[in-house]
């Protein structure tokens, strides 16, 4: 299992294994708490949580930090059910970077990872959020995230899932304020998985901008449905790019870009394609000594990493 040593080898600002919090860093410039404690000790957080949280983390970056934030939530035991509510707040003008890992440490744990998250970027804040998922074959995973972007803030959200669970249900809702910008890159490698992705970007503030790039791979009886929408309510710009790769005939990909325009001054566009692995690339790599499977794996990893 590729992620087996993630928890052991890395130092994290927040580390949870199964339903036990193992590490929480202390830092003068930010507050990190279990969400349940934030709910109790910081009443203002209640408006962002969806009821009293059972699990998850609260991270409040109050001052500029010069290192990337790191969180890790793992499943290590069989049949674990995680129900997380994560809240991250980035104060005005702060530029932050976060590495977020959620994974199973073995292939056969049949775990459930349910994560509801809210990220608040205040005025002029910026966040690069690198979200990596690695799951076992029998896991059920449903991240449901909402990003609220204040005036002039910017978000770069990279989500990568090269080792998918049995069931994956991703929901992302992004609300963009005035002159804010969001750049979403979502890469999912479907391997014998049922995957649903629903991504909605609301351009609510004047001159907001959004680019959403979705890369999907269908392999080994995967069934993937990806709905990606931009709703422009005011003068703003947005673009959706959905690219998919079908590796075999047993999989199915439904790629559904949707544009909703409520302002004549908004410019929103989309492009979508579903293709197959190039024979030319395959032949080339096989002539270099790679087996057909090794060549396909390499082509797929390249496709998802761009």
């Amino acid at each position: 299992m590729p992620s087996a040593n993630i928890a052991k080898n890395c130092k994290h600002d927040f580390l949870q294994i199964d339903n036990e919090i193992k590490e929480i860093a202390k830092n003068d410039k930010m507050v990190i708490l279990p969400s349940s404690e934030a709910w109790k000790s910081l009443p203002w957080t209640k408006e962002y949580f969806n009821g009293k949280p059972k699990g998850g983390y609260f991270i409040w970056i109050k001052e500029q930090v010069d290192f990337p934030l790191s969180t890790c939530v793992n499943i290590a035991s069989p049949n674990v059910k995680q129900d997380l509510q994560n809240l991250m707040v980035i104060e005005k003008g702060i530029k932050a970077k976060a590495g977020v890992i959620c994974s199973s440490l073995k292939n056969n744990l049949s775990g459930t990872h349910k994560a509801r998250g809210k990220l608040i970027l205040k005025e002029n804040a910026s966040l690069e959020y690198n979200h990596v998922h690695r799951w076992g074959h029998n896991d059920n995973v449903s991240p449901d995230y909402e990003f609220i972007l204040g005036k002039n803030s910017s978000l770069k959200y990279n989500y990568s899932n090269l080792f998918p669970p049995k069931n994956l249900d991703i929901k992302n809702k992004i609300i963009c304020g005035e002159k804010s910008s969001v750049n979403l890159n979502i890469s999912v490698n479907g391997i014998d998985s049922l995957i649903k992705i629903k991504e909605e970007v609301f351009l609510e503030g004047k001159d907001a901008q959004a680019v959403s790039r979705l890369k999907l791979v269908g392999r080994k009886r995967s069934d993937i449905t990806a709905e990606s929408s931009i709703i422009a309510k005011v003068k703003s710009k947005g673009h959706i790019d959905c690219q998919s790769l079908m590796v075999d005939d047993e999989s199915k990909i439904s790629s559904i870009p949707l544009l909703v325009c409520e302002s004549k001054e908004a410019q929103i566009t989309h492009e979508a394609s579903i293709g197959k692995v190039s024979e030319e690339q395959l032949n080339y790599l096989r002539s270099r000594g790679l087996s057909e499977k090794e060549a396909i794996d390499l082509i797929v990893s390249g496709f998802l990493s761009v």
Binding site: N283, R286, E292, L298, I299, G302
Partner: protein
């Protein structure tokens, strides 16, 4: 002993005959030039020796180290020691040359250090013609081949780079007794290689062969390929 022995090889693409009862022998360490006009079947022959899937072998045999390779997949042939430098290698986005080399390398290639800037570029993506050829060369030499087929290695190379590439190849051929098939429609690069043997391909057949490449080039310059059509040996 012949390293490669092709006997009576006929190949079709979509019902059209591209190679027609072709015979060709290559010895270990031999540098063999394959000349011919456009569409004579030179590149097809290279791909068929490598075992690329779009070609259907209708008849004949391809013996490599005395073993029939006709039904073998390209990776098997690669592991036996056949390598091909592609004329137009495909771009593979998201895969750095260093990552590809990690997966395929059997042999450490001296030129890797000199061209380290290419290692962090995606394979054949936005490379100049010369850079692509160097990238190809690093890849195939890392496979430690016994037979290297160069399909139009000189295209896209300026004179300095061409000399460098030839010197690298001659060095490898000498040190490792690697045979080389040089496919070209220009004679220029042959002056640098000084091949042991030249074959001229016309309409999917070897029309003539000689040990004197200069004489062949001279004849082609004078008569185009017209005279080659009528001779077996100059």
């Amino acid at each position: 002993m012949n390293l490669l022995k092709i006997k009576n090889l006929s190949v079709e693409i979509e019902g059209k005959k591209i190679l027609d009862s072709l015979d060709l022998d290559i010895k270990q360490g031999e540098i063999h030039a394959l000349l011919g006009p456009n569409a004579s079947g030179k590149s097809t022959l290279a791909k068929v020796i490598m075992g690329l899937s779009e070609y259907k072998v209708k008849a004949g045999s391809i013996l490599f180290l005395n073993k029939e390779v006709k039904g073998l997949v390209p990776e098997r042939r690669s592991k036996m020691g056949i390598a091909l430098v592609f004329q137009n290698p495909p771009a593979i986005e998201g895969i750095k040359l260093s990552k590809l080399l990690e997966k395929i390398s059997i042999n450490e290639v001296r030129e890797k250090e000199k061209y380290s800037h290419l290692l962090e570029r995606d394979v054949n993506v936005n490379l100049s013609g010369g850079e692509k050829k160097i990238s190809e060369l690093i890849q195939v030499l890392s496979l430690n081949p016994k037979l290297l087929i160069l399909d139009e290695i000189d295209s896209g190379l300026d004179m300095n780079k061409r000399e460098e590439v030839v010197e690298i190849l001659k060095r490898e051929a000498k040190e490792k007794k690697m045979a080389i098939i040089i496919i070209t429609h220009q004679g220029e690069i042959l002056k640098r290689f000084n091949p042991d043997k030249v074959s001229v391909m016309i309409n999917g057949k070897i029309a003539c062969q000689s040990n004197d490449y200069k004489k062949i080039i001279e004849t082609i310059k004078k008569n185009d390929y017209a005279k080659c059509k009528h001779c077996k040996k100059l």
